[in-house]
């Protein structure tokens, strides 16, 4: 009766990892891929002789990325758990039109910024809560729940539309978008602050850490007695809130209440998150990684415009770049990539 002593010694292979960089606080080696891609792209466009690296353009880049960053933060937490939130556009559009109707505007007689914020952001919280409840308690897949909510919210926005776009006359709201501090608008600063808060949540709170856990193995989390449902709901509430915040900021940026204002927020957010390294299958990634993804997309779009690529080709090139980035970034994971829940 001999023991299996000539089995492959797995432990020696791994012992070199001991003493590695602490994973919680810093990026892991794998995540450098996205940042590297970003740097390479920026270098490329700068070298292509256009005005890419000019201060004006970099400002434009940052401005264009601000609202997508806020949306991507919300989506990141949802994706970490392995779920998805498709309702971003609808909730944002609803918040946009609601805000425009409550602040001083050209259509209604109301002019109450505070009330506008409460109603708009409250709608986001509420819709997010409904998403979370239906997903966790009724066990309907998040894809379906949020898809339905997308249309519900969009329909509500259309219903509220007063047959012409209300123009925003509230100077305080407009100033968030128009007033520049150090060359950047208030929207950018809001995004930065949210990013810092999100990072804190991700690394130092139950909601954050257990989102990773749920994405890693939900069954084990439940077995360990964790309140998985609560965390799921919390994350959807956050996402709804951030979506509606996007809507409010869009109103400031557009200067009108557009009931389709949120259109076009969804796909770039999800692809940005994936490009940055936040997997659709959950358990990997984080807010910083997702933001890198947003920047990559912005850089590509802006860069192609700066170097004068034929506009008909732009979409093709953009799409191709996204595919390459995703494939390159997840090459080593290809056996493990699964479909989102």
């Amino acid at each position: 009766m001999q023991r299996q002593s000539d089995r492959l010694d797995i432990s020696s292979e791994r012992s070199s990892y001991i003493g590695q960089v602490m994973d919680v606080k810093n990026y892991r080696v794998r995540d450098w891929g996205a940042i590297l891609a970003l740097i390479v792209l920026m270098a490329f466009f700068t070298a292509a002789g256009s005005n890419f690296a000019s201060l004006n353009n970099l400002q434009a880049l940052v401005e264009s990325s601000a609202i997508p960053v806020i949306a991507v933060i919300g989506i990141t937490f949802v994706m970490l758990q392995g779920s998805i939130d498709l309702s971003v556009e609808g909730v944002a559009s609803l918040a946009c039109i609601v805000t425009s109707l409550f602040v001083a505007n050209s259509v209604t007689s109301s002019h109450n910024l505070g009330l506008a914020l409460v109603v708009a952001l409250g709608s986001g919280l509420l819709l997010g809560l409904i998403n979370g409840l239906m997903y966790s308690k009724l066990k309907i897949p998040s894809l379906i729940v949020t898809l339905g909510m997308w249309f519900v919210a969009r329909g509500a926005a259309t219903y509220l539309f007063p047959s012409r776009q209300p123009q925003i006359l509230d100077p305080m709201l407009m100033s968030v978008a128009l007033d520049k501090h150090f060359g950047l608008s208030g929207i950018v600063y809001v995004a930065i602050v949210l990013l810092i808060i999100a990072y804190f949540i991700q690394s130092k709170t139950r909601i954050g850490r257990l989102s990773y856990g749920i994405g890693g193995d939900e069954a084990l989390c439940r077995l360990a007695g964790l309140r998985v449902d609560r965390i799921k709901i919390a994350v959807f509430v956050m996402s709804g809130f951030l979506s509606s915040l996007c809507g409010v900021l869009l109103t400031a940026q557009l200067g009108v209440g557009n009931p389709r204002g949120g259109d076009g927020l969804l796909f770039p957010s999800i692809s940005a998150a994936v490009i940055g390294g936040t997997l659709l299958s959950g358990g990997k990634g984080g807010v910083f990684q997702s933001v890198v993804g947003v920047l990559i997309l912005s850089v590509i779009r802006n860069g192609l415009q700066q170097i004068g690529v034929d506009p008909l080709l732009t979409q093709v090139v953009e799409g191709a770049t996204i595919v390459v980035a995703v494939v390159a970034g997840s090459w080593h994971m290809r056996t493990k990539l699964r479909v989102a829940k």
């Binding site: 401005e63 608008s185 415009q305």
Partner: protein
């Protein structure tokens, strides 16, 4: 994984029965009313233009006590094919459908279905070259209406040229590739460019009719071309608004000239404030009223299709270039339902026609 379980079979059967019941009731209801039902199809219910059309159309319908319904395509022709297809299939003899097929590809299919149901159909904006109401399903396809995109592009281009003193760089925000209104407006614009040699086209980009996209693209342009941009040609007001927002960020609104098209009220406000130079105003309410009245007249028998000329069956409606000079007038106009009664329009259906659609311009 048994797809033939009794439960799912019951469910499908139940759905089929429910659908059949609904359709037969609809059909019965239809057969009872003598006044034809009117179905108006717009692009989106959250657009000012769509709402204006509905206003005019509804007024006409109300004046003859006709049943009136609005459908929205979300700019998807497929959706109208399904929605209107269902309405026609349920039996729609002598009812009137007025809609924008959203894309050339769907026009013939929709017109054919209307003909099969013997309904009257009017289309606007999207119709392919080569078929016309007088040679295709001519007993049912009453007319095709549109607005002259070339005129819009040309006149707005001229206005821009004038506003920059004939000298300077211009950039163009286009809608969607291969979209007839977009192509027409750009063609008109190029014409204006040809007549204005000092105005140079620096770049053109597709902004998908989207306000935010237009804003992002304009920011990029400002970074790239800086002060050489003197004007921005936007193929619609939505994108023009986005361009103005980007200009505002740099304090350039009013200094760089912007043109749009559609004439929605927030654009008109910008023309008044000077942040926009011009836009082409289309009277959506008039469009809705005229098309509805025309359709109703044919359905009722007040008009004989065989006696109509080509120019009466395929025409442009008038549009007005709005600049600072006349913006106040246009803004002061408040649509009055009383203007849009059937009787009033019946007096001369083609009062607001700007002329027949030239051949070859619908490509």
């Amino acid at each position: 994984m048994d797809n033939h379980s009794p439960r799912s079979a019951f469910r499908t059967a139940g759905q089929a029965i429910a659908l059949a019941l609904i359709l037969t009731t609809a059909q019965a209801a239809m057969a009872e009313t003598k006044t034809p039902a009117i179905y108006y199809g717009i692009g989106s219910e959250s657009s000012e233009y769509g709402n204006a059309q509905v206003f005019g159309a509804k007024a006409v319908a109300a004046s003859v006590n006709a049943k009136f319904s609005v459908l929205a395509s979300d700019y998807q022709g497929q959706k109208f094919l399904q929605d209107f297809g269902a309405i026609f299939a349920a039996g729609c003899k002598d009812c009137v459908a007025i809609l924008d097929p959203a894309s050339n590809a769907f026009t013939k299919a929709l017109v054919d279905r209307a003909a099969q149901a013997d309904a009257k159909i009017l289309t606007f904006w999207n119709s392919p070259d080569g078929i016309h109401p007088w040679d295709t399903d001519s007993d049912n396809w009453v007319a095709h209406l549109s607005f002259d995109g070339v005129e819009s592009g040309y006149k707005n281009g001229q206005a821009l040229c004038k506003s920059i003193g004939g000298q300077g760089g211009v950039v163009a925000l286009m809608g969607i590739a291969d979209n007839p209104p977009a192509k027409q407006r750009f063609a008109g614009f190029k014409h204006a460019l040809a007549e204005c040699p000092g105005m140079k086209l620096l770049d053109s980009q597709y902004a998908d009719w989207d306000q935010t996209k237009a804003q992002t693209i304009t920011r990029g342009w400002l970074a790239r071309y800086g002060a050489s941009i003197k004007a921005i040609f936007a193929e619609d007001d939505g994108m023009a608004l986005g361009a103005v927002a980007a200009l505002r960020e740099k304090g350039l609104a009013g200094k760089v000239q912007v043109s749009g098209s559609n004439g929605q009220s927030d654009a008109l406000a910008l023309v008044k404030s000077g942040e926009m130079t011009s836009t082409m105003y289309v009277d959506g309410a008039m469009q809705g009223a005229v098309s509805t009245a025309l359709g109703y007249a044919v359905a009722r028998g007040d008009l004989d299709l065989k006696k109509l000329t080509h120019a009466q069956r395929e025409f442009y409606l008038q549009q007005t270039l709005v600049t600072k000079d006349n913006v106040d007038q246009v803004l002061a106009r408040k649509p009055n339902a009383a203007d849009y009664t059937y009787e009033k329009i019946k007096a001369n259906f083609w009062q607001t026609s700007a002329g027949p659609v030239p051949t070859g311009s619908l490509k």
